[in-house]
Symmetry: C2
């Protein structure tokens, strides 16, 4: 597949992949900033700022931003993670230039005081809404307990207190510090012309200024261990998360990590599926990896009747202990590889999938994520590399967090 | 795009669309049965049966079913709606025949008593889990109140009581009545050979027996009107649904209905967005249509602080009343059309999207859903057809259901 890159004088980077069979195009602006880059008083500012981006620029009111996106039928959105804030749109090819015009414009927002005050109420409502969702609350508590004072434990939404206290001046200072040209990557995939696209970005973003946007606290971390029961009455299910260290996003061990997580806790046919879901002991159980810059986390999780939470935890420990001691089988490895091949291929059929994949790879490794190379690397995962993984990142060295009515997990 | 159909002597129907640029294939078995086809004592049996399909056949144990799917890396699943139960898989082309072998096999399940007993606990857990999700509970109550004794008000999951009381004999009788050849459609899309596929289905499903699977209660329905507050303490948000009649899935008015719903309550740039979401009055607000065989429903919904629920309801009523009286503008119509064009094209880029789209169209209208024809029909929606829609299905003739702490909605 034709992959292209370009670096502008400002420091802004651009990557793209053309897909001749596509009937649409997807474009995203990836800003390397998120909850982990916030100081204490700024808690929640990355996510709040993401909302504010849609509230207007010198050229557009909030109404214009929405109308202009809507007029071209764009599917557009944004999200904030612990370390990235991403703005993206998928459109028909004839509207790609307009989509870029809007995205580039909103990335230089007005941040007006009146809009800031109005949006604060939206953010506070969103915080409340998530408090109603036990699965999401369980994760918030688990990350905080696992990471302690490490920056990856910082909450994305912020708290009612931090968001209430936040000022527009603090937000502007954060914006000036983080939304600099060299801290942003533009990614495009699908039906488009590369040369015209480079010119378009130069035209729309050529004036962006730069500065050094450093990230501190990029260190590996292992959780404190132990079992932590966060008691929450009034919900029916207990949510339990078992967390262990795993490789960072830039590590070549990431292929082994993903493969192993599938063997342990994929939706179907995994160890946790057979031990917990199939016999009806839990509502759901899974295992996944959450790789970040400099540090990763593996999470085995389940939700069940609070009365069964302790018994099920003993089963999860047993499953992970067996994997730690004996690894996985040839058959499990083959299954995991076929699942990954199928997912990589199917995800690659969409411009939006490719746009995100090439951006993720470029940001963490500076490499082009060629689907065939990716498939070959997954195919190279072996029982030996699984053993090496387990020796370096034991899956039975757990920090356990329960959220729900159970006062103890045994 | 090359579209093919075939009807076997048994009554089983097959449709397919080949996509030369696809690198995968998707296949689905669509059974025309769901909650609306259940008698009172059978409540929940369609969904429970869907789970049981994965528990084994004369040729495969539950373990084999999962292992065989997993071995080929299939992305497979099933779901049950008010009127359809669907089993599907997406795979690499070289594994399509294996995927069909498994799907065809599990559609003739053993339904063993021991598996039935074990799975009952899983279903009861699932019912509990949904009770923890206010958004989902709100919908359950709203459908029940809107539809009353109409079959479309029947719950998909069933109740703790109905599922507890259900016997394996009742499930077998339901299966024999509903899973007959002429009540099933097979749909395939992506990278595959049509002639080989017809032969494959004949080989795997040729012995399926047939009988008349009728559906009763296919009548149009209008809700009772009024405002119904279902009080639920302990959740932070009030969920409010405003329901009105809209055209059935087989109606040619469906294009107008979808277009109007986007103008009223799409995520962005819609009337409800500007009236409620943008000023921060609610956490979320939307409008959508839910077309079924013989009857449709339009739902405008929002969630917010319980204290603001009544005031926001007045705003929703005002928005809908203005639409009812004055229709929408040219600009709103253009926006809605561009959004639909973009969504239809992007959804069509995936074999899974095409497999589902052609099946839905075929089941309700007996027509091939050609993307270009679909786009042309959406493009033909006019202010005149919007007016005709509103005259036939007034959007201000509402049944309102609130779920949350609010005792009254004003």
């Amino acid at each position: 597949m034709p992959f292209h890159t370009h670096r502008f004088a400002s420091g802004l980077q651009l990557i793209g992949e053309t897909l001749p069979s596509a009937r649409s195009a997807a474009v995203g602006f990836f800003v390397r900033t998120g909850a982990r880059d916030e100081t204490g008083p700024e808690s929640g500012v990355s996510h709040y700022l993401e909302h504010m981006m849609f509230k207007g620029t010198p050229r557009r009111t909030a109404l214009d931003v929405n109308r202009d996106f809507d007029r071209i039928g764009a599917s557009y959105n944004a999200y904030t993670s612990e370390e990235n804030t991403v703005y993206y749109a998928a459109v028909l090819p004839e509207y790609l230039a307009t989509a870029v015009d809007i995205l580039a414009d909103i990335l230089r927002p007005s941040l007006r005081q009146a809009d800031f005050d109005t949006e604060k109420q939206v953010i506070l409502e969103e915080i409340k809404m998530y408090q109603d969702q036990p699965g999401s609350e369980a994760w918030e508590h688990a990350r905080k307990i696992y990471y302690g004072t490490h920056t990856l434990g910082q909450t994305i939404l912020g708290t009612t207190e931090s968001v209430t206290a936040l000022t527009a001046e603090q937000m502007r200072a954060y914006f000036d510090r983080r939304y600099v040209a060299s801290n942003i990557l533009v990614s495009v995939a699908g039906q488009f012309d590369w040369d015209a696209f480079v010119k378009l970005i130069d035209d729309k973003c050529g004036q962006w200024t730069d500065a050094a946007a450093t990230r501190t606290g990029v260190t590996e971390h292992v959780g404190p261990g132990g079992v932590h029961a966060v008691v929450k009455e009034g919900v029916a299910q207990e949510h339990v998360l078992c967390l262990a260290a795993s490789p960072p996003a830039e590590s070549m061990m990431r292929y082994t990590a993903s493969t192993l997580a599938i063997a342990i806790g994929d939706d179907s046919g995994s160890r946790l599926h057979w031990a917990l879901v199939d016999p009806g002991k839990v509502e759901s159980a899974s295992c996944g990896v959450d790789p970040s810059q400099g540090n990763g986390m593996l999470a085995a999780s389940y939700s069940c009747d609070p009365e069964d939470a302790a018994e099920n935890l003993a089963i999860v420990r047993q499953v992970l202990s067996e994997v730690q001691t004996g690894g996985i089988t040839d058959e499990e490895l083959l299954q995991a590889k076929n699942k990954i091949a199928s997912r990589v291929v199917r995800y690659s059929e969409r411009p939006m999938g490719r746009m995100r994949t090439i951006a993720g790879s470029w940001m963490y490794t500076g490499e082009y994520s060629d689907p065939d190379v990716e498939l070959a690397r997954f195919d190279a995962v072996s029982l030996t590399s699984i053993r090496e993984y387990l020796d370096k990142y034991p899956v039975d060295r757990l920090t356990v967090v329960g959220y729900g009515p159970a006062a103890t997990l045994g």
